[in-house]
């Protein structure tokens, strides 16, 4: 555990001493801000129109829900943007060690592979969490100007953390497969996109296959959180997904040591 902590600290410091972390953060918050603005204005337009209609027909205005109509699409868009953001964070984790030869230091030190895997994954996750924390500003704006339901916002953020954890786990695994960061990042984007779109297969695949595919679709589970629902089976899915990919990462590193030719 001490080794994990040492690796974690070095990795995190390395993130914040490179411009990439700041560039990713700035870019992500910018895009998130744009979505927030676009979705909120379209929501306000809708709200205004229904208000005017209500006045015209001299009826009570219909209840409109900022949580369902603005927040849910906002979080959904955020999740899609993350498919392209998280790989930028994870792609260097092992690829860079292979490229610089520092892997030779790690693998000849009395540190187990799973200890470095955990340390690195945690560091990437903390960077990811601070990225997500940046979007709390937008949530705060909602609270200043209206009365959104806090429960759904909280579940959405829990969902984002779990989703991000799963993305990080995929990214760190693919980063062990190549010494080229760009390739690692690209592969991660492709795989994450696949995990997203398999959810759509629900509609055209047979009921059996479709529901399996829908189950492994990372984003469809996130939608439950964005609706304000925490279901144990979604949490379990994310956690086992994370565990599975971290284990694969460990195996991938071990195989480098065990391969005899």
């Amino acid at each position: 555990m001490r080794n994990t902590w040492i690796i974690f600290r070095r990795e995190l410091r390395s993130y914040f001493s490179s411009p990439l972390a700041y560039a990713v953060m700035a870019g992500f918050l910018l895009i998130a801000g744009f979505f927030f603005y676009a979705i909120l204005t379209s929501f306000l337009n809708t709200a205004l129109r229904s208000e005017m209609q209500a006045q015209y027909y001299r009826m009570a205005p219909p209840p409109i829900n900022v949580n369902l109509m603005a927040l849910r699409p906002f979080f959904h868009n955020l999740a899609v943007v993350l498919i392209f953001t998280v790989p930028l964070i994870t792609m260097r984790l092992y690829a860079e060690e292979f490229r610089n030869g520092t892997i030779e230091l790690l693998m000849t030190s009395p540190v187990r592979n799973w200890e470095t895997v955990l340390g690195k994954a945690l560091a990437a996750f903390v960077l990811y969490a601070s990225l997500i924390a940046g979007t709390l500003v937008y949530a705060a704006i909602l609270f200043l100007s209206g009365k959104p339901e806090p429960g759904q916002i909280i579940t959405s953020y829990i969902g984002l953390l779990l989703l991000g954890g799963a993305f990080v786990a995929v990214g760190i695994f693919l980063s062990t497969l190549t010494e080229n960061q760009i390739v690692a990042g690209f592969l991660t984007i492709i795989l994450l996109l696949l995990f997203w779109v398999v959810g759509w297969a629900d509609e055209f695949a047979g009921p059996g296959v479709g529901s399996v595919l829908a189950y492994v679709s990372l984003l469809s589970h996130f939608d439950e959180f964005a609706k304000g629902v925490i279901d144990l089976k979604d949490v379990v899915l994310y956690l086992s997904f994370i565990g599975f990919f971290l284990f694969l990462t460990h195996l991938s590193l071990e195989s480098k040591r065990w391969r005899t030719r």
Partner: protein, 316 residues
């Protein structure tokens, strides 16, 4: 302290190391000498548990590098061919990090890091970012990193590469000073380095050990044998075989000449035997032309070249 037996490493179809056996005693400094692609780095990577051997065994302090790799890793300091540096860290932080993953007590590190920087003369660079250091200083940080936890065994892959002459001398002195307390294997393809720092030498070529002896013996063996350089005008093949057939000649190898006429031959003879008279008689008797003849003391370089190029000469 270090035992290697029948070690073989195959990469795909390429055999990098073939059936190597040797051992290094406690406190010894072993020079691992060989030309490019001889298999030095490969052997070291196996010893440091970085990669497994295809077959054969290796152990350090009685622990198998494959089966008990954690025990081995605790006991070694390793300077890989390319120093494993995190370029965005400062020298000080980097050394503390390495000490940490080697299992050192953080309190001990506070005094150990400056100590190691002192020994490798990088004290002045303590707060600098590694990326901004010159190649020579980076190499020294690499050496410092291998020393940080005061390991029993040091494995140094070309430790003086990239250093300027003054630094080379300093590093060699440092390594010499470390012998006794530490068991050291260092690889190099520079001969004087071996004679200056090592107590024993293993010469490796194309994955095989071609010579193994104490530095003194090897040097004496080389200086001791009498060598003769001749340039003869005549049919290359038969000149070589006839010379080889002379009494007292142990080996003949061809040498390049700058001159158009004649071919150069390096003749090794038994110690104390002078073949010059017989040789001259042979050449004249055959009607060949004797263009040059001079005795040469074989330098360590030549021995090295001789030992490592013999393979190719046999089929000719």
């Amino acid at each position: 302290m270090i035992d290697i037996s029948h070690l073989t490493k195959v990469y795909g179809t390429k055999t990098a190391v073939q059936d190597i056996t040797f051992s290094v005693g406690r406190g010894e400094i072993l020079g691992f000498l060989g030309p490019n692609a001889a298999g030095k780095t490969t052997t070291m990577r196996i010893l440091t548990c970085f990669m497994p051997a295809t077959s054969g065994r290796a152990s350090i302090a009685g622990f198998d590098v494959f089966g008990q790799s954690m025990e081995v890793r605790r006991r070694i300091g390793y300077l890989p061919e390319n120093p494993p540096l995190y370029s965005e860290m400062t020298v000080e932080k980097y050394l503390a990090f390495v000490g940490g993953i080697k299992g050192m007590d953080p309190r001990l590190l506070k005094t150990r890091v400056p100590e190691v920087m002192e020994r490798t003369s990088i004290r002045t660079e303590a707060g600098r970012i590694i990326k901004h250091l010159s190649k020579g200083y980076r190499q020294r940080v690499g050496i410092a990193q291998a020393l940080i936890h005061n390991p029993e065994v040091l494995i140094l892959d070309e430790p003086t590469v990239g250093l300027d002459p003054k630094q080379i001398i300093e590093v060699r002195e440092l390594i010499r000073g470390l012998g006794g307390d530490h068991t050291i294997i260092l690889s190099t393809h520079i001969l004087p380095e071996v004679s200056m720092t090592c107590s024993r030498v293993i010469i490796i070529n194309e994955g095989r050990i071609v010579a193994s002896d104490t530095t003194e013996n090897l040097t004496r063996r080389l200086r001791g044998s009498d060598n003769l350089y001749v340039e003869v005008e005549g049919p290359e093949e038969s000149v070589e075989t006839r010379i080889r057939a002379l009494g007292g000649v142990t080996a003949v190898s061809r040498r390049k000449t700058e001159k158009r006429r004649g071919n150069g031959y390096l003749i090794e003879t038994e110690i104390g035997v002078d073949v010059r008279r017989d040789l001259a008689a042979l050449v004249v008797g055959q009607g060949w032309g004797l263009l040059e003849m001079r005795p040469v003391g074989m330098s360590l370089e030549e021995v090295f070249l001789h030992l490592t190029t013999r393979e190719e000469e046999v089929p000719a």
